[in-house]
Amino acid sequence: MITFRSFLRSLTIFTAAFFLIPPLPALARETGRIFVSNERSHTVWVFSPEFEHIATIETSRRPRDMKLNGDRTLLYVACGDDDVIDIIDVETLEIVDSIPTGPSPEVFEFSPDESLLYVSNEEDSMLEIIDLEARITIHYVPTGAEPEGVITSEDGSTIYVTSEVADMVHVIEAAAGAVIDNIVVGTRPRRFVLTPTTNELWVSAELSSEIYIIDRASNEITEVLSFLPPGFRPEDVTPVGMTLTKDGSRGYISLGRANHIAVIDGISHEIIDYVLVGRRAWSIALTRDEKLAVVANGLSDDITLIDTESLRPIRSIPVGQVPHTIIIDD
């Protein structure tokens, strides 16, 4: 059971936790709430399952990546300008704690047993490993400049980190806390997803407009995907956020300045469709029933809801300034 849970948790950055059904904890309650972090207004907006704006949580400055813990009672928020990860109680919507980090935490991930936090510090080019219980940094792994995306393998043995400036993916052995391999990819690599059935690691390369498909057994690049929604030029396509369905059959990829998301077949990687969203589409999250995809639009300060069956945008909803990450607790 543990393995299965951890396996699922690592599936994607954004959908990581919210489709887990924890078997035990009594407190866990599927609130169905949608959380959106807003980088520039230093807030997390909370929506009801019907997308009514029900609360605005003032966080530390520049909240970006967010993750739910395993039993979905706490929401962790990396706040880049105050060098902390705030912890929000999902029930009461109050900040209950803060974990100090190195300078400018951007993206983070839990170890499968939730004892450790892996945090990319974009200012000092380190992956920081924090002991969650002791609240201390127990190890630093040097990375290329501006590390961003972080993801752990299902069994927790491997951590993958992108370096936006060095154009590479670092493969880190968790036990040794050291880089064991480097994979050179396209320009400004950003985020990851792991595929559930095909043992692939996908990496978005924002400025070369590509998704790199890496075979995790060999760490070799097996395919490079590119996108071109109608009416745009290749250089407008700046992919960042990605998410996969649970079975890995479908992938949703945000195309940044091209103001679209691409929907692709998760196995064959063929493009199914493009969906128009807001300006500079970044993070994408799926509801648990996978009927809705929710996209954060960084430059139009809103989120767009997409019906995944018809692949049509349903509506856009205003949020705070520069929405970064979406987490759905259902």
Partner: protein
Amino acid sequence: MRPALGLILSLWATVAGAQETLKIAVISLNPDPRYDEAMAYARIETNQASDPLTAAELALADMGMLLDTAGLTVELRSITAADLEGVSAAAAQFAVQGGRYLILDLPADEVDAVVSALGPEGPLSINATAAEDWLRRRCHPRLLHTAASDRMTSDALIQHFVKQRWNRVLVLHGKTSRDLARAESFIEAASRFRLRIADQRAFDLSTNPALREQNNIALLTGNLRDYDVVFVADSFGEYSRYLPFQTALPRPVVGATGLVPLEWHWSLERYGAPQVNSRFETRQELVQRMSWQDWSVWIATRAVLTAEAKSRDRGPAAIETFLRSPDLRLDGSKGAQLSFRSWDGQLRQPILLATTNAVIAIAPLEGYLHRTNTLDSLGVDEPEFSCD
């Protein structure tokens, strides 16, 4: 201020690695007439000298892991000389020693002379700080440019003027050949968008009463029916810094002061720019902001290191072809893919329109289109370009 260095000083930075050693040098003049300290009255610096070595070292550090992975060792060398003769001798020596890339932090005349002397077999040179349009038209086969040309920065301003409907421009310039060239480039760009030049006037730094039409700001900017904006070309910056708020008509002053078109400005807050700035600042003893010249040296170094580390074919000719191709897709932390134009070796890049503490707009502005790449709406486009 430029660190006190001897006639020729070499610093070597080495990245641990394996087989190949790649030699890169950054060449500067010291003193560089463009940052003439005598111009700064009462020790006020109008033009702060840049720190090219720190910028190149930052690029090397940024790319360190990628270079390691590619098995590349880099020797980065800083060469400073007092005059053209010294610079030329050092460049020739670097070429003899098997130097591969020469990053030039030199005025345009010196760039032209050094690159001509090196010839087509020499190291590949990159002009990082000379903006003159004529240097592009010289069409040296082994010269690329990371400094934006005058025409590019002019086009960036013009796009903003058109958007703001500032249609009538008063053009002011100093009497140096540099300022005249800058003004000419601006007028050329303005004419393409049919902006009206209300007048073109030279200013004078003196207080000579016989020249009061040129040194008195009210007179210099007066006796005209109207204009929407004042463009001033003033490479030393001594005259232009007194110009705003004193013009005969209450109009914005842009160009050398006020709103300045630049390759880089420390106040850019998107695209990873703050991280580049802070990495640059922490590498220095004298903490100074990353200037456009620093950025330009940084991106030049990044360009050659990216080409070397990412080219699949390891042959020098293939690496240079990749460096010059649109596939380079260089990241300059300005949110766009950068590459060198095939017709003039110019780096295509966004231009920031900055005040002292804010980036007001980034050109190309929205709505300015181009048939192949919107970045080519800045600068001389392929069909218009010809070598001298």
